[in-house]
């Protein structure tokens, strides 16, 4: 068996220069794409949608400004300004126009926008009125689903406003046969059709659009070839001149033809990665198993002496920089949820090959090294771990984790593969999985996974149980029995499941409406030409052209619901410490604590109007005073001191009840069952592409903003605080250290959450110090995975975090720090010692 190279490779001096140039300025919004697509759409009114998409893509690629940045070896930039972004009015545009004047000054992900750009966009936007996917999706949605979203039970906002993305295409095929090869494949499929076939009309137009799109990409690359040649002619530095001439040669050959060298393969890869993100605004365009499909080119060049390891590393590093050159401007609210300009381009190394052999190679190591060299958020680097993963590779990954960059994320093949088999993947496809976006597994090149289909807040349905389906004076859920009349825990739990099931149905309705809108208005011929079996089936991915079709909406708040329902079971029904009626009151009054959020005046007005309407409908006429009183009882916060003390007492009892995350089998098994209230109903639903729903259990960062829309919960969580992230225990509720938390999380059924689960742990860098630190760290991951954990990621915390931990110790109860010759939980240390440690961190002790 061949052995991999795991040694150190130095960073090229080129890389810091590229990184510095990339971050010199605030990212900028550019208008070219929006203007060009509008021009094209205006000219193609009335033509078939495939044709319109193909022609628009061609028009964009022919005319969008191009640039080769200083020192670049891999070229292809979507904007003239580094880290700039284009816009995609065919999906949505109203929010951007509304935020023109604030987008530059907002706190989360600001973008510069010039007056000329605003003017250009204002000219084209009116064309899109009534033509966007978001408008069609709204038209398709059931009114009750829209209402549920207005009440923040779940959100499907991501795909409502944007393209879908969340895909890993057949990069390997483009590298091998080029787009000329793909055009030939499309042509061959077309040749096999008869004009009399039932679906010939659609099929032939799709094939035509695919060919047009692939040719447009070839021509786009050649624009770079010409530009490079011009720049070379004017370049006085002989080294750079030679580089530019090489670039010119590369772009003439790829991605038109198959790559004949590692350098060409890198350039070909990049055009695919970049241009998918010009065709559509979907994020999480994931390179997937880069170490696998790039390897043959690397190996051939290395063996023939055409390239050194250092040169190959430099090219990989250049790609890493380019992945950070792409950007996306989201609306202000979404920007909070996806903060950090992230595009979630997930790239994974290691794991098994299709036959079940270990797949580690030189590039697996070099990808990790690239993240150390470039030290930027993209790509979202992941690593597949299985029982046969070489220890060297894990240690190299742990060295990256230790830097505090939060990469890589670790995935367990021993859970992922059976989870995917259970969803109907073949053994080969399951073994070949990659990760999309945050944590979502799929068979690359064959899947339209719709992985980030929604965020579902599992805490909101429990509020609906307490209110019998009412929210802010409106019936939005199921009118379940008043909690005051419930006599057993089962009755309460059943009511929760009833609310869950109803809301899950509405979520499915919402997602399917959006799915249908994309199918109709934004089929993607270019993307589909690289996904199996779109050519064979004569359908785009948006229409069910892929082998595997899923919809994966995410649930979160499991820990809150497990802790809360457990507290109700134990304290209300078993120990009878308080009644459901008392708990309801305590929740309504935020356990007697000041609610930091004032009642929203618009909510109060809406509630008032609604109360009046309902009373009128019931045939009662009432005065203003009575309405005001009712409204106050709904949104108000008045309480006596006696009541206040009782609410605090209830909270204290709840706080003392056992919590998920402490290796307590009773609570942990309860959490497993609570997770099923989301994951199991999801399995029965189908999407318009002929695929099934599969649940994920992760929140991105939505647990914070969506927690802000959630009242107090029965786990003792106060109103508007974040809900628990992913499958992790509630912040600060796991107090027995990382192994206990991991054991609890491992007790959930990760296999059914086949759209991915997310488990965060926090460490101080010193806990990973030295070889022994790395060894123990990797052992922790191994042991969690032995117990069928699915995913693990690490926040190796900085000084800033430690300062925050001093201010808010309740959020950091499980933060491990190395004190001197031993580790301790940071928050258990005295203030002066904490200060000592913080100072020491500064010194890099």
């Amino acid at each position: 068996m061949e052995r991999y190279y795991s040694g150190k490779i130095e960073k090229s001096p080129r890389i810091p220069k590229l990184v510095e140039a990339l971050y010199a300025k605030m990212p900028e919004i550019e208008p070219a794409r929006a203007v060009l697509i509008t021009e094209s759409y205006r000219q193609t009114e009335g033509e078939p949608i495939y044709t319109r998409r193909g022609k628009a893509f061609e028009h964009i690629l022919k005319n969008i400004p191009i640039i080769i940045r200083d020192n670049e070896l891999i070229v292809g930039s979507t904007t003239l300004a580094p880290r700039g972004c284009q816009t995609y009015p065919e999906y949505s545009y109203e929010w951007l126009e509304a935020e023109f004047d604030t987008v530059e000054t907002r706190t989360a992900d600001p973008f510069y926008i010039s007056e000329e750009t605003k003017k250009a966009l204002k000219e084209v936007h009116p064309y899109w009125k009534g033509k966007t996917t978001s408008e069609l999706a709204t038209a398709y949605m059931a009114p009750e689903a829209i209402k549920a979203m207005e009440h923040n039970i779940f959100t499907t906002g991501n795909y409502f406003y944007n393209g879908i993305g969340h895909v890993c295409v057949h990069y390997d095929e483009v590298l091998k046969i080029g787009f000329e090869g793909i055009i030939a494949k499309v042509q061959e499929a077309w040749d096999h059709c008869q004009v009399s076939d039932g679906d010939y009309a659609r099929r032939s137009h799709l094939y035509e659009a695919m060919i047009r799109s692939c040719q447009a990409v070839i021509d786009y690359a050649r624009r770079y070839s010409v530009l490079a040649k011009h720049m070379a002619a004017e370049c006085s530095d002989p080294v750079r001149k030679a580089e530019l001439l090489q670039i010119a040669e590369n772009c003439m050959r790829v991605p038109a033809k198959g790559a004949t060298s590692f350098y060409e393969a890198c350039q070909s890869f990049w055009f695919v990665q970049q241009l998918i993100q010009i065709e559509s605004s979907g994020h999480s365009i994931s390179p997937g198993r880069f170490d696998q499909y790039m390897y043959p080119y690397y190996k051939a060049d290395l063996d023939s002496g055409k390239i050194t390891r250092e040169q190959a590393q430099e090219l990989i590093d250049c790609i890493w920089v380019k992945l950070n050159d792409l950007n996306k401007c989201r609306d202000a609210v979404s920007a909070e949820g996806f903060a950090g300009y992230s595009l979630f381009q997930n790239l994974i190394v290691g794991g098994q090959d299709e036959e079940g052999n270990d797949a580690t190679n030189d590039l697996s190591f070099m990808c990790i090294t690239a993240s150390m060299h470039v030290f930027l958020p993209a790509p979202s680097l992941s690593i597949r771990i299985w029982n046969g993963t070489p220890h060297d590779l894990m240690i190299h990954a742990a060295e990256l984790t230790r830097t505090g960059i939060g990469l890589p994320a670790y995935y367990n093949d021993e859970v992922m593969i059976p989870a995917l088999l259970n969803r109907g993947l073949t053994l080969k496809d399951a073994r070949n999985y990659c990760i999309i976006g945050c944590v979502e597994p799929q068979a690359p090149g064959k899947t339209d996974g719709w992985h980030d289909a929604a965020f579902f807040n599992m805490c909101r349905p429990v509020e609906l149980v307490f209110s019998s389906g009412m929210d802010k004076g409106e019936l939005i859920g199921v009118p379940t029995k008043p909690v005051e009349e419930m006599t057993s825990f089962e009755e309460f739990y059943d009511a929760y499941k009833t609310q869950m099931n109803y809301m899950i149905q509405l979520l499915v309705n919402s997602d399917n409406a959006i799915d249908s809108a994309h199918m109709e208005r934004c089929p993607l011929p270019f993307l589909s030409s690289m996904l199996e079996d779109c050519i064979g089936r004569g359908k785009t991915a948006q229409e069910g052209g892929c082998i595997y079709n899923f919809t994966g909406p995410q649930g979160f708040g499991i820990a809150n619901m497990a802790d809360g329902l457990f507290a109700i079971k134990k304290l209300v029904f078993e120990e009878k410490k308080f009644t459901l009626a008392e708990l309801k009151e305590a929740l309504e009054h935020n356990y007697g604590q000041e609610d930091t959020k004032e009642a929203d005046p618009s909510v109060v007005a809406a509630v008032a109007a609604n109360v009046a309407k309902e009373l009128a409908a019931a045939g009662r006429t009432v005065g203003e005073a009575e309405i005001a009183q009712i409204v106050a009882s709904i949104v108000g916060n008045q309480m006596t001191d006696v009541k206040k003390a009782r609410y605090a007492e209830i909270k204290e009892m709840i706080d003392e009840a056992p919590k998920f995350g402490n290796d307590n089998p009773e609570v942990d098994m309860f959490a497993r069952d609570v997770a099923y209230t989301y994951t199991r109903p999801m399995e029965q639903y189908r999407n318009p592409r002929g695929g099934m729903y599969q649940a994920g259990l992760y929140p991105v960062s939505a647990n914070v903003p969506l927690g802000g829309q959630t009242g107090a919960t029965p786990d003792g969580r106060l109103a508007h605080m974040p809900v628990a992230d992913g499958v992790s225990p509630s912040a600060g509720k796991d107090t027995l250290g990382p192994t206990a938390a991991a054991n609890s999380v491992a007790k959930l059924d990760h296999l059914i959450a086949s759209n991915g689960t997310l488990f965060n742990q926090k460490f101080h860098p010193s806990a990973l110090s030295g070889r022994a630190g790395l060894e123990n760290f990797t052992s922790l991951i191994r042991a969690f995975f032995d117990q069928k954990g699915m995913h693990m990621q690490f926040n190796v915390v900085s000084r800033e975090t430690l300062l925050d931990a001093q201010k808010h110790p309740e959020n950091y109860k499980h933060l491990v720090v190395r004190v001197a010759g031993y580790s301790a939980l940071f928050t258990t240390l005295s203030k002066s010692l904490q200060d000592d440690i913080i100072r020491r961190t500064e010194q890099g002790f």
Binding site: T739, A783, D786
Partner: protein, 263 residues
């Protein structure tokens, strides 16, 4: 009596400890000690009595009576981590040898169920007691604080003759991996001469390969306040990294052992 039913007194169990013995370990802290080291970072470990200590402003009982079986149920929970890391159970304290039956019971049940064992101890006990636990002990992390008997007595309350004699006997038994640990305390033993003397002694112990220098820290300081006791080391300033490394260098030169800072 069944080993699992033996009772003892502990004051804490700490999981995911990675600095007291190899791999990921669970440390069981036994209550009660024969020494009264002035720098002790676990003052609540010294008395065998169950005490009251302030935690987050509330009086909290420290110390509880448990059976070997109850402790082992907790230790057992991290078996997957021991298996992957080569870790296991570590007894610490206090001085575990003050509760010989309980300590032996824990180590024995642990070994019998395939979990490796370590003991952090002063070895200040009759050798017969130590001898009776050695068959169940993989690693003995033994403190040698000073070779000067008078100074040892002044700072710890006990003379060191028995300790040094036991160190030799444990080493000669060849029944466990003996690791020498030196808490390095300014004003007590933190001069190069004193470290050199300890290191030279360690070098004479047959089979000993490793020595750990554990630099003084203030972790225990606020615990003294919370127990309402006086902390006599308040004016001691922890050493800087450079100085500790100089001492490490001294220890390596004097002993020829594999020396490291920290456990």
């Amino acid at each position: 009596m069944n080993d699992r039913e033996i009772k003892g007194r502990i004051f804490d169990i700490q999981r995911y400890s990675v600095h007291d013995g190899p791999g990921i370990r669970t440390i069981v802290f036994l209550k009660g000690c024969v020494l009264r080291c002035r720098w002790c970072c676990n003052p609540e470990s010294q008395r065998f009595d169950i005490e009251t200590m302030m935690v987050d402003g509330k009086p909290t009982v420290t110390g509880r009576d448990v059976t070997v079986g109850e402790v082992m149920d907790m230790v057992e929970k991290d078996r997957p981590y021991y298996r992957r890391s080569g870790g296991g159970l570590t007894l610490s304290g206090g001085e575990s040898l003050c509760q010989p039956d309980f300590a032996r019971g824990l180590l024995k049940v642990s070994k019998e169920s395939g979990i490796s064992t370590a003991l952090e101890s002063t070895a200040c006990a009759k050798y017969e007691v130590i001898e009776s636990i050695l068959p169940y002990l993989d690693t003995y992390l033994m403190d040698i604080k000073h070779v000067n008997a008078e100074k040892h007595k002044r700072f710890t309350g006990q003379a060191n003759e028995l300790i040094l004699e036991n160190a030799r006997k444990i080493a000669q038994s060849q029944m466990t991996e003996l690791v020498i640990r030196v808490p390095v305390i300014p004003t007590f033993n933190a001069t190069p001469e004193e470290i050199k003397a300890i290191a030279s002694f360690a070098a004479t112990l047959p089979g000993v390969k490793k020595m750990h220098l554990l630099p003084y820290h203030r972790l225990g300081q606020d615990k003294y306040d919370r127990l309402g006791r006086e902390y006599t080391m308040r004016d001691i300033v922890p050493m800087d990294q450079e100085y500790v490394e100089m001492l490490l260098d001294t220890a390596i030169k004097a002993s020829g052992l594999n020396c490291q800072i920290g456990g």
